[in-house]
Amino acid sequence: RAAPLARMALYGPPAAPSIVLAHAIAAGMLAELAPEVTLSTWRTPDELRAGLTSGTIDLSVMPVQVAANLYNRGMGVGLVNSMTDGLLHVVAKDGSVTDLAGLQGKRLAVPFVNDTPDFVLRALLEARGLSDAVQQVPVGSPIEAAQMLLAGQIDAALLSEPASTVAIMRGIPSGRHLARVIDLQEEWGRQTGGAPVLPQAGLAATQAFLDRGRELLPQLQEVLERATAAVLADPGRAASDATAALEMPAPVLALSIPHSRLVARPASQARPAIESMLSLMAKGDPAIIGGQLPDDGFYLL
């Protein structure tokens, strides 16, 4: 067993993978790695950038594409594992759409420009020859997409967890019954002929952490696997553990967990899926992942 660290600062966006971290902390699972573990959320890439530069971040959940880009830019960031198999759904009025073809002629709000969901959706639509048939409305953020969907300004929205959960929840009292009508992961699996896996986000370790506690990674991975299982087993409990750190109500988080395809797959094990996703994104402009597919050094475990 490697020597524990004095402190460990975990970061993550306010989404399901961070719940796993929160639960691991709350359950004391990380105590063996470091007596003092903190979890903070970041909402914008700028915070991530600032945190990486100022060295306050040890480990952070982040989009795999961002991690790969940072790695290729020589920032010393490596990927520990992938923490989700995909969080993407097209949300629309219940029953109005059933598959991608059903989106024909509909107005679909697409947030996350230049982000994984955008590329995946575009690839899927293109493969089906629907690129021109679906009216894509670019919007600034998932919030606005959900707002417009709830207000009936658009027909469907590409959302990720937990935004889709929130949108669906909010729709109920006002009589708008929304549902996750298309599971992008499934579509992706069908498209690639593989498993329905979109390794969107994973836990990345920074140089600052690797310098001090590289040996702790296997132990950490083992803890996260246990934590993931515990979270999936009892979403309610995990949600209440995470509600403070993520600043989101526990019920929302609890509802979001089952749709988040949480996993804790070591990076090298997830590598094929990751590479197929990253190469798709790099097709337009390799700069999005920092020039090329990351080499072996990126996959820490």
Binding site: R43, T44, D46, S54, T56, Q147, A151, R170, S174, E247
Partner: protein, 272 residues
């Protein structure tokens, strides 16, 4: 007799102040009406009804932390405003008096004006973390140009004749500045300060939101993430209310005191 008449004068100005507050309420009612129309056209999720927002705001104020958050953001906005007022005025006055400084600072100004805040905020976050100072620096960067330009204009368009008079009556450069120029500069400075104050609140909220620094910006982000648009609007409304309070308690009375003489110059009946 003089104190009485001056008290009466002040009273009448206070009356006019109240009356202008009344007209202000009419303006607010206008906004509310437009808002309601927007609400009816687009529904709760785009624009919740003004009344719902009011209720949400009331609820926020009553169960707990709203007052604290409001105080936090107001404090941050005021700190940033104070900084920008001091620095902007000092730099603007210096530049107004020294053309060389002005010429040198013009491109700096253009950069400050034209570069969007997202280009700075990372720097601020590195230096100060998600703290008051990040917010203050963001405010400083985005509102200083207003104050700076106001001060420069105040200095360059002042009436030098009166300053020459002061010089003849024995005022050195410092007292010429404090007794004569400052008064003339304030005419141009006050509108700039009012603008800067308004922006300070706005920028404080945006900076809190971008830098994840709590306060009303944080609460707003949370409410938005939960798609609780009424609550989000309520937070914005609370911030605007704080702004109005600060403006009418802090700046307007000072200004109307300083600009009293304009009332006299206005033709009969056009008092404001």
């Amino acid at each position: 007799m003089r104190p009485v008449s001056s008290a009466l004068d002040r009273l009448s100005r206070f009356g006019r102040f109240l009356w202008s507050g009344w007209a202000g309420l009419a303006g607010l009612a206008l906004i509310a009406a437009l808002w309601q129309a927007g609400h009816e056209a687009y529904g709760d999720f785009i624009l919740p009804a003004p009344l719902d927002t009011l209720i949400a705001g009331w609820r926020l104020l009553h169960d707990g932390s709203a007052v604290e958050l409001l105080a936090l953001t107001t404090r941050r906005a005021l700190a940033g405003f104070a900084l920008c007022a001091v620095i902007g005025t000092a730099a603007g006055v210096a530049a107004g008096y020294s053309p060389a400084t002005l010429r040198l600072s013009r491109p700096v100004l253009t950069v400050l004006m034209g570069v969007p805040p997202i280009a700075w905020i990372v720097l601020a976050m590195i230096w100060f973390g998600a703290s008051d100072r990040t917010v203050a620096m963001t405010i400083l960067v985005s509102t200083t140009p207003v104050v700076f330009i106001g001060a420069v204009e105040g200095v360059t368009t002042r009436d030098r004749g009166i300053e020459d008079m002061a010089r003849v009556f024995g005022a050195g450069p410092i007292r010429r500045f404090t007794h004569v120029a400052a008064r003339q500069i304030s005419t141009q400075l006050f509108p700039a300060l009012i603008l800067a104050l308004g922006s300070s609140f706005k920028v404080a909220i945006m900076a809190e939101l971008l830098a994840n620094a709590g306060g009303i910006g944080g609460a707003l982000a949370r409410a938005r993430a939960m798609l609780d648009i009424a609550e989000a609007m309520a937070w914005v409304g609370l911030a605007v209310a704080a702004l109005i309070v600060v403006e009418y308690v802090l700046i307007r009375p000072l200004r109307s005191e300083l600009e009293r003489w304009r009332d006299a110059a206005a033709p009969w009946g056009v008092k404001r």
